[in-house]
Amino acid sequence: MNGPGGEPAGRQVWAVLELLDRQLVDRDGRLAGKIDDVDFVVDDDPDAPPRVDALLSGLGALANQIGGDFGRWLASIERRLAARRDRAPSRIAWSDVKSIGSSVELAADRDDLDSNRGERWVRDVIIDKVPGAGHEAE
């Protein structure tokens, strides 16, 4: 049971140390946010251990991590933004994960992730209007 990267099965991963706050990288090598929380599925059978279902990324999950007044304020912004669309907070299904290392590599395209809406908005509304935005540097 070896993964494509030669990962041995049964490898141990510390969730807080090795997953939380790590960098997400999309299939084209572009940076795609941080892991702000981890979602588990819990079976009905009380003895069956929970399994990682998805990685959560985005302002809402981050606000929850930060906590305090500032966290609540961030969360309220997130809620207001989220109210305009009916989508769940950005979930990255575990089946989309390719590897875990100093970053977590995904099989998904960054542009398909909900947590990158802000990036797309800034790109489309502001940066693309500036001449030279699509050029390589010289």
Partner: protein, 105 residues
């Protein structure tokens, strides 16, 4: 269940002994292989202890060993509580059975 819902929750035994708070979760990658050929992660145990700063840094888990001064300040070996040992779980409290803890470790 989210990871953030586990972190910081107080852990007590059925005898009423307080073990500390949840600082980290040990996952084991032996689940079914997903679409990307990457195996799933199973929650194996919770790391429970009195101080949490060393957890984020990596001293608690033992992956960071130096420098001496920081290790001395932050290295607090956690109690590992296997998931199977949990008998009751709420948002603010996790109760574990001491006997089941010893069995599986």
């Amino acid at each position: 269940m989210k990871l953030s819902e586990l972190l910081g929750v107080t852990v007590v035994t059925t005898d009423g002994e307080e073990l500390g708070r949840v600082h980290d979760a040990l996952l084991v990658q032996d689940g079914p292989v997903g679409a990307q050929g990457f195996a799933g992660l199973r929650l194996h145990a919770l790391a429970v202890g009195t101080r949490s700063f060393g957890t984020k840094l990596g001293y608690t888990q033992g992956t960071v060993k130096g420098p001496w001064l920081l290790r001395a300040m932050f290295h607090r070996p956690p109690t590992l509580v296997p998931w199977q040992a949990i008998v009751q779980r709420s948002a603010s409290r996790i109760v574990v059975d001491r006997r089941r803890m010893d069995e599986s470790t």
